[in-house]
């Protein structure tokens, strides 16, 4: 292959130290980077929430001003959705999918690294807004014309618009990567219907991502055209219709919530069988339900707009489609219960979280079905009833599953168990805290308390439950703190874990903990679902269980690290700030981006003579 003598530093070969992490293209390291970064951002979103709960603890408090409160609820939601749940899920996709399908990495390792750095820089653009002129303040859904230049001349919305577009690039790149990886890199014999459920949900989620993100990208682009170049997309004085923003946003926004929950459902579908010592009940039906949810998720978006005045026909249609989507969701729940039924249950922390997910997600789902009736929603919309629903499905749902996943796969990633005793108390405080914080919000909503208000008058009848909810939020925070303690404690002093500490079922447990760089010394040949279980208890001996012996894996060449992914990402970061502040800087960013793309294209996928690591 032709090589140019580029006037640039030689491609790195070392995997050690900070430079090793900066240039890594190993999916396991990238997964770890996503996980750590996302968890820190999740905590920052939690702190934003705690400020709000402190402010709302009693009527007419003045802990924060209304202006700051607006920024708090905007940043809390934007952080939790885009910088919390999504990248935490991405951490799992990155780490696990190649291991579950018997591959050595993803289809495009450098693109994978690029996705992470772009995500990090998008997160920086959003979070640094607090310190650079003001955070966005118009809600995570940014309804126009409140986000327009006339109503919102400050720089906060600019950070939001640009930051989210950068994040969209990261998500798009990552999802394309996972689609190709899952379709094209499965071990021999692993047909689609033999894949682990987490990988299946990753596939569905990735399709949702590549099809939904372009829509919000255009909405943001149009808003940016209005704000930066004086166009009229959402300017009522020019005849624009603000409802167009809402439609474009929710055409993205509804698939987005399935993007948030499907990976969590995938995690739960892995944990339950292991700790029930039974295969997932109704695997094909669970797959079909996941696919149906992904498909039907495109048909319900205007249920976020029931009170906008779309008319009875529109409202009826979307009410019916929304009720319909509860069906595949319910089917999954029955299958999870069926998995546990008659099983030999072990109540590890991971299992507690998985069961907690089912309970709390059911509650969130029930309030969701209540919203699906347009007349009911007329009362519930924009009240705390919706806030209750959101948090039951996203915290009681997605976050609980993610915690469960961390307890489940931490031994694989580190070779150590998270402490189960601390884990139990972590779970108790998180589960209890979740319910104490969010259950009262149902009452507050039904009692008429609107969303996004920075305070409320005495005598509205809202005092008691707000107090309870706030106390709950601090309980919840304490639970998260226990987790953080557990994490660091276990990293240092955790009990050793082998390759298969839970007696599990899928391929990732057939290799050492932590896995070697090349994952599998020998690519397994798969004969059915749960291939490891089948081998342990069935008899087929074609999943080589790695012994970690010296010389094993010798001769496996992995692609070398590269610094072009982060370099190219930096182009996006610089360009983004340039767009907001000074166009010459945007040009510079564009130049860095182009140089990065060229250099990346000219760098071979694999060097002809890789050095031994």
């Amino acid at each position: 292959m032709a090589t140019f003598a580029l006037p640039v530093p030689k491609r790195p070969v070392s995997c050690t130290g900070v430079w090793g992490w900066i240039t890594t293209i190993d999916h396991k390291r990238i997964g770890a980077l996503y996980g750590i970064t996302a968890f820190i951002l999740f905590v920052s979103g939690g702190i934003e929430a705690l400020f709000m709960r402190a402010q709302l603890m009693r009527p007419e408090m003045a802990l924060v001003s209304p202006e700051v409160f607006n920024q708090l609820f905007t940043m809390h939601a934007t952080t939790m959705i885009f910088l919390g749940v999504m990248p935490l899920s991405a951490a799992f996709f990155n780490y696990l999918v190649p291991l579950q399908i018997g591959a050595r990495d993803v289809a495009f390792p450098r693109l994978n690294a690029f996705s992470y750095w772009t995500f990090l820089f998008g997160a920086l653009i959003l979070k640094l807004s607090w310190f650079l002129g003001g955070a966005p303040n118009a809600g995570w859904f940014g309804y126009a014309p409140l986000t327009g230049l006339q109503a919102n001349p400050g720089v906060g919305i600019d950070f939001w618009v640009v930051g989210l577009q950068v994040l969209a690039v990261a998500s798009l790149a990552a999802s394309l990567n996972f689609i190709i990886t899952i379709i094209n890199m499965r071990a021999p014999g692993m047909t689609l219907m033999r894949m682990p459920m987490f990988t299946w949900m990753t596939l569905v989620t990735s399709f949702l991502l590549i099809l939904a993100f372009p829509v919000i990208t255009i909405a943001l682009l149009e808003l940016m055209m209005d704000r930066f170049y004086g166009m009229n997309f959402f300017v009522p004085a020019a005849g624009a219709n603000p409802v167009l923003w809402q439609h474009l946003f929710w055409i993205f926004g509804h698939p987005e919530v399935y993007i948030l929950i499907l990976p969590a459902m995938g995690i739960v579908s892995e944990i339950l069988p292991t700790f029930s010592r039974k295969p997932l009940f109704g695997y094909p039906v669970v797959v079909l339900s996941g696919v149906l949810i992904g498909f039907m998720g495109w048909m319900v978006w205007s249920h976020h707009m029931f009170t906008v005045g779309l008319g009875p026909v529109a409202n009826s249609v979307f009410a019916i489609t929304t009720m319909a989507i509860a069906v595949p969701t319910g089917v999954k729940i029955f299958n999870w219960i069926g998995t546990m039924w008659g099983g030999s249950i072990r109540f590890s922390t991971a299992m507690l979280y998985a069961i907690g997910f089912i309970a709390l997600f059911i509650i969130g789902g029930l309030s969701g079905v209540m919203h699906s009736s347009a007349p009911s929603d007329a009362q519930q919309q924009d009240t705390y009833f919706i806030v209750a629903h959101i948090h039951y499905v996203l915290f009681g749902g997605a976050i609980m599953a993610i915690f469960g996943g961390i307890y489940y796969w931490f031994p694989k990633m580190t070779g150590k168990f998270l402490n189960e005793k601390l884990g139990f108390w972590n779970f108790i405080f998180v589960f209890g805290g979740t319910n104490i914080t969010f259950f009262p919000m149902h009452f507050l909503g039904l009692d008429g308390m609107p969303r996004r208000i920075y305070t409320y008058a005495e005598g509205m009848g809202w005092d008691f439950w707000n107090l309870v909810s706030s106390v709950g939020s601090f309980t919840l925070a304490f639970g998260v703190l226990i987790f953080i303690v557990n994490f660091f404690y276990s990293l240092i002093k955790g009990k050793q874990a082998g390759a298969d500490p839970w007696d599990a079922r899928t391929l990732e447990w057939s290799i050492p903990s932590p896995p070697p760089e090349y994952n599998f010394a020998q690519i397994p040949v798969v004969h059915g679902r749960d291939p490891l279980w089948e081998q342990k208890h069935g008899g087929h001996h074609t999943v080589p269980v790695a012994g970690g012996s010296v010389g094993e894996g010798h001769g496996i060449h992995m692609p070398q690290p590269s610094y072009w992914p982060i370099f190219t990402s930096i182009g996006l970061l610089v360009g983004a700030y340039g767009l907001i502040f000074a166009w010459p800087v945007a040009v510079l960013g564009g130049a860095i981006l182009m140089i990065g793309i060229y250099a990346w294209s000219l760098e071979p996928v694999n060097e002809p003579d890789p050095a031994h690591h």
Binding site: L172, I210, A238
Partner: protein, 202 residues
């Protein structure tokens, strides 16, 4: 025994190259992208409070010529790829350069047209028509421009020894798919924006 080398073209589950799958998945995504812009244009069609309106500025004969140019660029693109597959490197380069020139001609027409519209009082800030029209066709034009840069890069790279060979046709195939996609988006835009522009607001 354990020697599975990371090859240039390792075995894949479907037998297809990763990059080919990637471009098709990306184009599926791009359908949603352009669809949103076209939908915005159509939602706001006929809703501008002030002119100029489409009938005031569109010059269908001129745009037909630029449409013809872009269609021909798709033909030259596929002939370039075909020549490469057959091993005719000279023809491959000529057709590839032709594609770039035709693409640049199209952009030239766009620039001319945009200028013409501005002379007639239509800018992106004037009204809804201006905003939606210029953003839609501007985004399309940006895609074309990126495509020209991509193809031109491949043209120059082909002069490097062993840069592009019949065996390495996949890289050109992917660039060609992108180029054709940009052409079919224009087919939609020409019909829905220009030809329908004769109506005052359907």
């Amino acid at each position: 025994m354990a020697a599975a080398h990371a090859e240039e073209h390792p075995a894949t589950t479907t037998g297809l190259d990763h990059r080919k799958l990637l471009i098709w998945a990306f184009l599926a995504s791009d359908c949603m992208f352009f669809g949103a812009l076209i939908a915005t244009y159509l939602v706001y069609y006929g809703k501008s409070l002030v002119g100029p309106y489409p009938q005031d500025v569109f010059d269908i004969p001129v745009t037909s010529v630029s449409t013809f140019v872009l269609l021909m660029s798709s033909m030259s693109m596929v002939l370039s790829y075909s020549a490469l597959r057959r091993g005719n490197i000279k023809a491959f380069r000529i057709w590839l350069l032709s594609t770039c020139i035709l693409g640049a001609t199209f952009i030239g027409f766009q620039v001319f047209e945009f200028n013409d519209f501005v002379q007639h009082g239509l800018t992106p800030r004037t009204n809804l028509f201006g905003s939606t029209f210029f953003t839609l066709t501007g985004t399309h034009g940006a895609h074309v421009t990126l495509g020209i840069i991509w193809l031109l890069s491949m043209f120059f790279y082909s002069f490097k020894k062993g840069g592009i060979t019949p065996a390495k046709h996949l890289e050109l195939d992917i660039a060609a798919l992108y180029w054709h996609f940009v052409d079919i988006v224009w087919i939609v835009i020409f019909t829905v924006v220009y030809l329908f522009g004769v109506f005052e607001g359907f």
